[in-house]
Symmetry: C2
Subunit: 164 residues, 2 copies
């Protein structure tokens, strides 16, 4: 049985007792979370999110890319969020490689060098600050007065705040 089939079995159980079908589209707590895709980060549990509470944007690293700016622009302009929470974490995959080396590997395998940055970084807290500066520098995110950044510790479950 594939993981996807296991997901469908779990979803059937979830839907059986589902009682949240009347939640509105705009996030109740008016916040957008930007976090790494890492499998150990279970955003709902570690932040205490209920269905309907917050937008959750995730990618490799939790870095603020143009696609995150797109998502934040839609989140704030069209769906009313006002706070942003950035979450990087310890033991991140992005700490284990350098862009140039992976680009060279990809080029060796495919013949094509990727036309995008891989976004590897050397320190999660420093990269949270980089992400904060990218938002500060973007004209497309209208509300910037409630942005906070954290490093999540996969070894003990704790969020630690990064002060810019």
């Amino acid at each position: 049985m594939s993981a996807t089939d296991e997901f469908l079995t779990a979803n059937a159980r979830y839907a059986e007792s589902f009682d949240k079908g009347d939640k509105p589209m705009p996030p109740a707590r008016q916040v957008a979370v930007v976090a790494c895709m890492d499998a150990r980060i279970e955003t709902g549990r570690l932040l205490g999110l209920e269905e309907g509470d917050a937008h959750v944007i995730r990618n490799a690293g939790g870095v603020v890319t143009d696609d995150v700016i797109r998502s934040l622009a839609i989140s704030q302009r069209l769906l009313g969020t006002r706070e942003i929470v950035l979450i990087h974490h310890t033991d991140c995959g992005m700490l284990t490689f350098k862009d140039d080396a992976v680009k060279a590997d990809i080029e060796a395998d495919t013949g094509l060098r990727p036309p995008f940055a891989l976004e590897a970084f050397a320190d999660p807290a420093e990269d949270v600050k980089q992400s904060m500066r990218r938002i500060a520098n973007s004209p497309f995110v209208p509300h910037k007065d409630a942005i906070r950044g954290f490093v999540y510790h996969v070894e003990n479950g704790q969020l630690k705040e990064v002060h810019p």
Copy 2:
């Protein structure tokens, strides 16, 4: 109290009983999920995910953008995932606007027209197929033989498969 401060209170409770500090970096179930950022989508609960199980990539719409390709390339090449699960959903914010209108609004407010697509779409199932085709067309995602797409129904909690 801000939503962010409430998250920190919830996180302190989560960390108190945390017993998952020894999970490895590669996802145990070797799958990457690509889902919309919508607040009503609680990926962990609706798929039955435990900490360590799966990469979770999310943006506005759950659309496959270049940043999702970047994340999938890292997920598969460096962290061993082999399945991809795409999740769009009913009552999505991306159904409520057109790119041109939002771009014009942003230009009116900021003086700048965004140099990226907003990625609005008219039908979630059709856009799941679009996302499948974008992955099929990308040279940077090496493993493409286990890609499945779904529309999540926010009104009843059910995933319904999209057959390409």
